[in-house]
Amino acid sequence: MANLRWKLLTIVTVLVVFSAVGVYPIVAARYGVTSPRWLTDKLLKLGLDLKGGVHLVLRVQTDDALRIESEAEMERLRQQLATAGINITGISLVDPTSFKVEGIRPDQDPAFRTAANEVSTNFERDSGVNGTYTFAMKPNVQLTLREEAVVQARQTIERRVNELGVAEPSIAQQGSNNDEILVQLPGVTDVNRAKEIIRSTGLLELKIVEQGPSVSKEALLVNSKAPDGMEIVPGAGGAPGDATGGTVYYLVRKAAAVTGRDLRSARPSLDENNRPAVSFTLNTEGAARFGKVTGENIGRDLAIILDGRVQSAPRIDGRITTDGRISGSFTQEEVANLSLILRSGSLPATLSYLEERTIGPSLGADSIRAGILASVVGLVLIMLFMLVYYQLSGVNAVVALILNLIILLGLMAYAGAVMTLPGIAGFVLTMGIGVDSNVLIFERIKEELDHQRGVRASINAGFSRVFLTLLDTHVAALISAAFLFNFGTGPIRGFALTLSIGLVSNLFTATFVSKTLFELVLSRQRQVQTLSI
């Protein structure tokens, strides 16, 4: 008897705890009951497919990050060779991870090697014919750079999404190479703005203009290429704000005076013609450098380059230190977006979109309604059947089933799981698969009763014989659920998780709870002749 009391106590405790965690917050939220925070904090969250919002998957083009590193390395070597007085006929990028140097005279070969040793630690050097050397980035360096690029991109996106003010966004890395970023923005309806802001590289560079603007690219070339240490950057032509002007080109210094990294802040403002512009403030280090460069180049033009395009190229009238302004043909909204992007920093690599899903709030509400209807109908049908077929023992199964669902809800809420539409399907199926355990046990009890055993003996035999069967079936089901979880993203994971939790809690309710209920009924009778089953 004492044993039974403990079992009942366990069940009641489980019931109370899981109801409080899983069921109460939902009911409270539904009927607007105010309750303590620690209780409602665990409210089961709705997935994007039920709540509505934007779901984006981007791939980080990590090759970009490698190319930037290779280019920088190549540039360092070029300068090193120039100072050491070593002549070469060419130095160029082969692919994002390697570059080659051509035309080293045999007598300068040892000097070249010494010079090269000083710069390239991240690259493997390989000599070819006719004084050619190839520099290939070491595989471990590549790996680190790729990983860093994705992490940086994710962090930048996080900052931007936070600036957007989205409640409970979810940003995560995924994909087989871990180079995809999943962005979920619940409640956001303006997809295009979100997409634009997330994907903008946001790379700001201020560079001194050497020549231009010119309508033709060729006019700026010397020997059909840009002079050493300089590059050609396109920009919008005509007067500022004149979009019909076509493209013009500027020859600028490759080394930037300051970049977006030197920014302390950026905010929307107006330019001298009262058109939308972005004002920025530099940090101390950036300001010192900017002051030096502008001081040395008074009277020349300064190109303000955003993502590889000249926005404007104002004349430097005097030494500028901390403050600057980007003007161009911007709209009010573009200016707001641009300041947000500049504040959150630039992306280390370009991103491409792989997936875009938007779920309108009405669509999500429809799904919730349908899901709840299906759950209720399924539940009622199953309960009716159990009651009709197993009579009083059916009550036992129904109680176990309800407890199973309460535990399922409670565990999901506790684990911070997200309820998705497939999750609801998992919920409905858990009921069907869950009563299977009861059916299995009850059918076994019937069989034992047919062998002319007493009621108590039959119940005990039914439970103990079937327990291992149940363990086997549940483990097998958990194995497929585990692979499903591993395979799926978002909603499917929700389904696999619901199913797994349902399976585990079912093992508890169908054996322990159901058996205790039988014991409870039997304990009230001295002699039990028949069992309503």
């Binding site: 997809v191 399907a425 199926l429 059916v439 299995l440 327990f467 086997d472 395979f487």
Partner: protein, 332 residues
């Protein structure tokens, strides 16, 4: 109430008809898939799917004619109940859906609808997936299925014996093929949800088989003089009530999902319904047939020691059975 009480059907006698029937369905499925292909959802095929809501009722034909000129391969159907005025428009990979052009098709569809003057509309849901994602997903889905089957094979081989494991896994593969065949017959899209349903079906089907095998193992020890076929028949009959009841109850929940669960879950629910039926059928007719194949027939005496699991207590038919269960119960 007690259905299938003391039945004595000779299930193994019908196994050849059952195997033939299964092959007919599977081959028909293969033929349909080979000739018409299996329709794949946006997630797998890549492309654009848009759900639009119109302020006024609009006919599918009008929407179709509005889009026909620009989009050759589009699927247009009502979404949800007719009174909601929602139309699902699906365009398969008309442009490369990636990078900058990801949402090009969406905008083109919206523009075409605007031009056709179908009244005010808004886009309530979109799904745009670049084809590369689909390829990755398809291979991941296949791997998940194969690995979960391998996992189940190992588990059953460990808990029972190899012949049972092979029987269960072949039965499960059978169910997957039959389910795919029915998806192809009824032209349901192969989507992520459907894959989830297929994996669930594989778990469910193994469940069903394990319950029967468990009884076979139990009976093998009590019925040493009988042939394996007889033992299997007895076991299937003993568990028949449970098998049918469980299938019925799970079917109830799957049907309620199919009817009330809404458009998005329909393919999922359909897959579950087919899977539950074929899973039950295969547990009864296919799995056992494979075991007899694998082990050969004849008296089980020689094979009886093979079920090496010491985990189950001796069974019903043993002489000591009067006292056994009670002791066991106290122990639990």
């Amino acid at each position: 109430m007690h259905i299938f009480k003391n039945t004595n059907y000779d299930f193994l006698r019908w196994r050849w008809y059952a195997v033939a029937l299964s092959w007919v369905v599977i081959i028909a499925g293969i033929v349909v898939i080979a000739t018409k292909g299996i329709p794949r959802s946006i997630e797998f095929a890549g492309g654009t799917s848009i759900i639009t809501h119109f302020d006024q009722p609009v006919s599918i034909e009008k929407v179709r004619s509005a889009l026909d000129r620009t989009f050759k391969e589009s699927v247009i159907q009502t979404f949800g109940s007719a009174s909601q005025n929602q139309v699902l428009i699906r365009v398969l990979q008309s442009a490369a859906e990636s990078g900058d052009s990801l949402s090009q098709t969406k905008e083109a569809v919206a523009a075409a609808l605007q031009q056709a003057n179908l009244g005010k509309f808004d886009i309530v849901g979109t799904e745009i997936v670049s084809p590369t994602v689909g390829r990755e997903l398809a291979s991941k889905g296949t791997w998940a299925t194969v690995l979960s089957l391998a996992g189940i094979l190992l588990y059953i081989a460990f808990r029972y014996q190899m012949s049972f494991a092979v029987g269960a896994v072949v039965a499960t593969i059978h169910d997957l093929l039959v389910t795919l065949a029915f998806l192809a017959f009824f032209r349901y899209d192969l989507s992520l949800n459907v894959i989830a349903a297929i994996l669930t079906v594989s778990g469910y089907s193994t469940n069903d088989t394990i319950v029967i095998f468990d009884r076979v193992r139990e009976n093998l020890r009590g019925m040493r003089r009988d042939g394996l076929n007889h033992v299997i028949n007895v076991s299937i009959n003993q568990t028949l009530g449970r098998t049918v009841l469980t299938a019925g109850l799970t079917l109830l929940s799957a049907i309620s999902l199919f009817v009330f669960g809404g458009e998005v879950l329909r393919g999922f629910a359909f897959t579950m319904i087919v899977g539950i039926i074929t899973g039950t059928y295969s547990s009864v007719f296919v799995a056992a047939a494979i075991v007899t194949f694998w082990r050969g027939q004849g008296p089980t005496k020689a094979a009886a020691h093979a079920p090496a699991s010491p985990t189950l207590p001796p069974v019903a038919q043993q002489p000591t059975r009067k006292s056994k269960p009670q002791r066991k119960a106290r122990a639990s």
